[in-house]
């Protein structure tokens, strides 16, 4: 029975991607592009050059964090659309701490500074998501609404910091802060950011959290059946708060790494790629794997492959990246539809 289900899932994913590419091909033909070249660029750019692969990993890392930020609350049937805001907030607070310490004369060595900034990102992102968690636990405010609204708050907070005379880089025309002190930044190993280590740790952490811990069991149980879970003593309110904190902490951590590893300073709109922000891609990625925490990193990687392919399309063939967004949206739609149609339980 289980094998049969797995087989079905594979077929569904295969068909969804296949159909999405057919639509893309049709559009490419209508716009008189070379279809074979389009598909080839889209799928192989990540693997043809080491630069392509590095770019893919660079996108995968934040995407893993925002995917989890959506996935974990989704397990208890809540939509955290605020992964983006939590990422921005985490990154911004990290930058504030990283820039303020040297200004007030505290120069910490790297091995203190980096952990401090990481913890800052975790706490800031966690706190920011916790606001939404608190609103739903206490007042039953739908997190879809609260997290979207908080995204705006995070964007403005970022602008406030990046344009603030204390932090702002006066030679930049764009809201950008001065660079972080060297002790507060991470480097690259053969083009791959060090933060990959933390992304892998996060994957292991989430796996353990969900599969092996009491909290993970409680989250799973609530996802299966809230009434039973509550009847048998699982504290829903507490679980909501913890779930939101963890999901925000992961997003915030993603923001921290964008700031200390990729940009090494705070840039307006840093949590973006190819003109779209990581938060919404995290939602897409999570939906592709139906909120399954184990499948999330794989989906994040594949999503990044498409994104890198999209950049290449724009560079080499002047095809707008939006076309790839279209294909990603279609893949999600097809998967969700086929899943409903063929995996629905009688």
């Amino acid at each position: 029975m289980k094998n049969k289900d797995l087989f079905r899932v594979i077929i569904i994913y295969f068909l969804s991607i296949f159909f999405a590419f057919i639509v893309i091909s049709i559009i490419a033909i209508l716009f008189r592009y070379d279809v074979i070249k389009v598909l080839k660029t889209l799928l192989t750019t990540s693997f043809k050059t080491s630069f392509g692969f590095q770019e893919t990993i660079k996108k995968t890392i934040p995407l893993i964090f925002t995917t989890y930020a959506f996935t974990i609350p989704f397990m208890i049937k809540f939509f955290n659309i605020g992964g983006w805001g939590q990422m921005l907030f985490g990154g911004t607070v990290t930058a504030v701490v990283g820039l303020t310490l040297p200004k007030i004369g505290i120069n910490l060595p790297s091995f203190v500074m980096i952990p401090l900034l990481i913890i800052t990102g975790i706490l800031a992102g966690g706190f920011f998501a916790l606001i939404a968690g608190f609103l739903v636990a206490k007042f039953d405010i739908n997190p879809i609404i609260s997290t979207i609204m908080l995204n705006f708050v995070a964007v403005q907070f970022l602008n406030f910091i990046a344009t603030n005379p204390i932090y702002r880089d006066p030679y930049e025309g764009h809201p950008i802060t001065i660079p972080l002190p060297k002790s507060g930044t991470l480097g690259f190993i053969s083009g791959i950011p060090y933060s990959i280590i933390f992304a892998i740790i996060s994957i292991i952490f989430v796996f353990y959290l969900i599969k092996k811990t009491k909290l993970g069991y409680e989250i799973t149980a609530i996802g299966y059946n809230l009434d039973s879970a509550q009847k048998y003593g699982i504290n829903f309110q507490k679980t909501i708060l913890l779930t939101f904190f963890i999901s925000g902490a992961l997003a915030g951590l993603g923001g921290t790494f964008e700031v200390i590893n990729i940009h090494k300073k705070l840039i307006e709109g840093f949590a973006q790629t190819s003109g779209a922000q990581y938060g919404i891609f995290g939602v897409l990625t999570s939906l592709i794997v139906a909120g399954n925490p184990i499948g999330a990193p794989v989906a994040a990687f594949l999503m990044s492959v498409l994104l890198v392919g999209a950049d290449a399309l724009q560079r080499t063939m002047q095809i707008p990246v939006e076309m790839v967004f279209l294909s990603q949206a279609l893949i999600v739609l097809f998967i969700v539809t086929f899943r409903e149609r063929f995996l629905r339980r009688r």
Binding site: K212, Y217, T220, Y224, N225, S228, K231, Y232, G233
Partner: protein, 512 residues
């Protein structure tokens, strides 16, 4: 061809995966009769009726209605052929009135609702049938008995000549059952044909003209009135099974002399709760429950019995009064803290409140025990090996029919699901078991198993608070019976004082 036949199903076969739900079933119903359909859980009653109603299509076989061969692909087809169904669970829209519910989806006019005209028609029909109910009151404010009448009228209003009633007495009080019986007899006189699905022997004997007995997807036989005896029916239902039968077809379980403890295990002192939208609340409930006894709570559904169960495992709901376990006040404890005192609970609705449907057996057994030291490493990590051991142990002790402990629980049958829920309560030594309708909808052998478990628990010196819907069942096994009505305690009866009439009367609010 017999002209008197309304429905005839010939050689119907239906297979679900590995399970043969119906195996060459031949079933016929005469015009104007009440035809009982009897069988254990999983015997195929619902499948058969869902085929007739168009929810399933048969893998093989033919359906004849009034002599004509028909194909029923959906409930729209079935109503065209005059087949209507009244489901076990109300399908009325609670926020609508009776009139709105009855005309829902009927009108021929595309854009306008002719409520007043339709209302007149409904009024006429219901007076003709002798079924009266308020037409303008919202369904949510009506009792189960009235709702059922409305469902019947709805089916007839749409042109049903054959009514399938799926376990229609589940949510009815004794007096409402009598009412229903009268209704059915009068409907039959008006030419309506009725199929009556049930678990209960007594209803068959009182209500039906003929009865067909299904067992494991096969028809065991059809009995007419003169052959319809308890003995015949039970033989057909359980040929190979060694089931002792009492008058009401309940398993007979011996209740030895009670060894009551000296001190009470549970004390309630003047306990009250706030009424909510879903429940009537409790008013000044006081009683004591001792070790070594089973106390039955007799009440018609919705009279505070659910609150009574829930305040013990979630005492924070109490607004007034005190509650003690073993002399210790537990008003401020959480559910898990109450569980840690040796209390456990099996809820009323086993699917909606009792299990994690998509979870496997280990996850389901762990529920409620997930904070116990035994199942945790360093207070954080779940010891899944230990959960597995507890699950295997439960499967063995409770005779749960499951291929392994990794199977998703919703794949099990209702009886086995109930056994998992029960088994969960016995993972640790138990002091007080609170169990709400543990036997509802189960076949007799499972009921017997659960009865024996309750008696065993009691004989080991523990206490059982058993909230039951079936007075017959409660009277077989309880040492005492408490009667609840409108959230108030109406009386406590010792076993020697059990009197069906007196208790029943209190349950429906009669004078003491």
């Amino acid at each position: 061809m017999n002209n008197n036949l309304f429905v005839e199903l010939k050689n119907v076969k239906k297979v679900f995966g590995p399970v043969i739900a119906l195996d060459n079933v031949n079933f016929s119903v005469l015009k104007g009769e009440i035809h009982g359909l009897l069988g254990e859980n999983g015997a195929g009653k619902s499948t058969l009726m869902n085929i007739l109603y168009g929810l399933y299509s048969p893998d093989k076989g033919e359906i004849y209605i009034e002599g004509k061969k028909v194909k029923i692909n959906s409930p729209f087809d079935s109503i065209r052929y005059g087949v209507g169904m009244v489901h076990q669970i109300s399908t009325l829209v609670p926020q609508f009135t009776a009139t709105e519910n009855i005309i829902l989806g009927t009108g021929k006019d595309k854009y306008r609702l002719k409520i007043e005209e339709e209302k007149e028609k409904i009024k006429k029909l219901s007076t003709e049938l002798g079924l009266d109910f308020p037409l303008d009151v919202k369904i949510k404010d009506l009792s189960a008995g009235i709702k059922q009448k409305i469902e019947i009228v709805r089916a007839l209003f749409r042109g049903a000549k054959l009514l399938i009633l799926d376990e229609p007495t589940t949510s009815l009080v004794e007096s409402e059952f009598k009412d229903l019986l009268k209704t059915l007899k009068s409907l039959v006189k008006k030419g309506v044909t009725i199929i009556f699905i049930t678990h209960k022997m007594r209803e068959v004997l009182e209500a039906c003209d003929r009865v067909t007995i299904l067992r494991r997807g096969k028809v065991q036989g059809t009995l007419d009135k003169k052959n319809m005896t308890t003995e015949n029916i039970v033989k057909m239902m359980f040929i190979e099974k060694d089931i002792k039968v009492t008058d009401s077809a309940l398993p007979k379980v011996e209740l030895p002399e009670s060894k009551k403890s000296e001190k009470p295990v549970l004390i309630l002192k003047d306990v009250s709760t706030e009424p909510t939208e879903q429940s009537i609340g409790l008013k000044n409930i006081s009683f004591e429950l001792y070790g070594g006894e089973i106390v039955g709570v007799a009440s018609v559904s919705g009279n505070g019995e659910k609150d009574l169960a829930e305040i013990i495992i979630n005492p924070k709901k109490i607004t007034n009064g005190e509650i003690y376990i073993d002399g210790e006040k537990i008003n401020d404890l959480s559910t898990l803290e109450v569980f840690s005192k040796g209390v456990f609970y099996t809820p009323e609705d086993r699917i909606k409140e009792g299990i994690l449907p998509e979870g496997n057996l280990k996850e389901n057994i762990l529920l409620g025990h997930h904070s116990e030291e035994r199942f945790l490493n360093r207070k954080i990590f779940v010891k899944w090996d230990e959960a597995r051991n507890a699950t295997l142990d439960t499967i063995k002790k409770f005779n749960i029919y499951a291929p392994n402990e990794d199977i998703v629980i919703r794949r099990l049958s209702g009886g086995n699901i109930q056994k998992v829920i029960m088994g969960r309560a016995f993972v640790n030594p138990i002091k007080l078991l609170i169990t709400h309708n543990p036997t509802s909808g189960l076949d007799v052998s499972t009921v017997e198993f659960i009865f024996k478990k309750l008696v065993e628990t009691r004989d080991n010196g523990s206490s059982v608070l058993w909230i039951g819907e079936d007075l017959d069942e409660l009277m077989i096994l309880s040492d005492r019976i408490i009667v609840l009505y409108k959230g108030e305690l109406q009386g406590i009866f010792k076993r020697s004082e059990f009197d069906k009439y007196k208790i029943g009367l209190l349950m429906i609010g009669g004078q003491k």
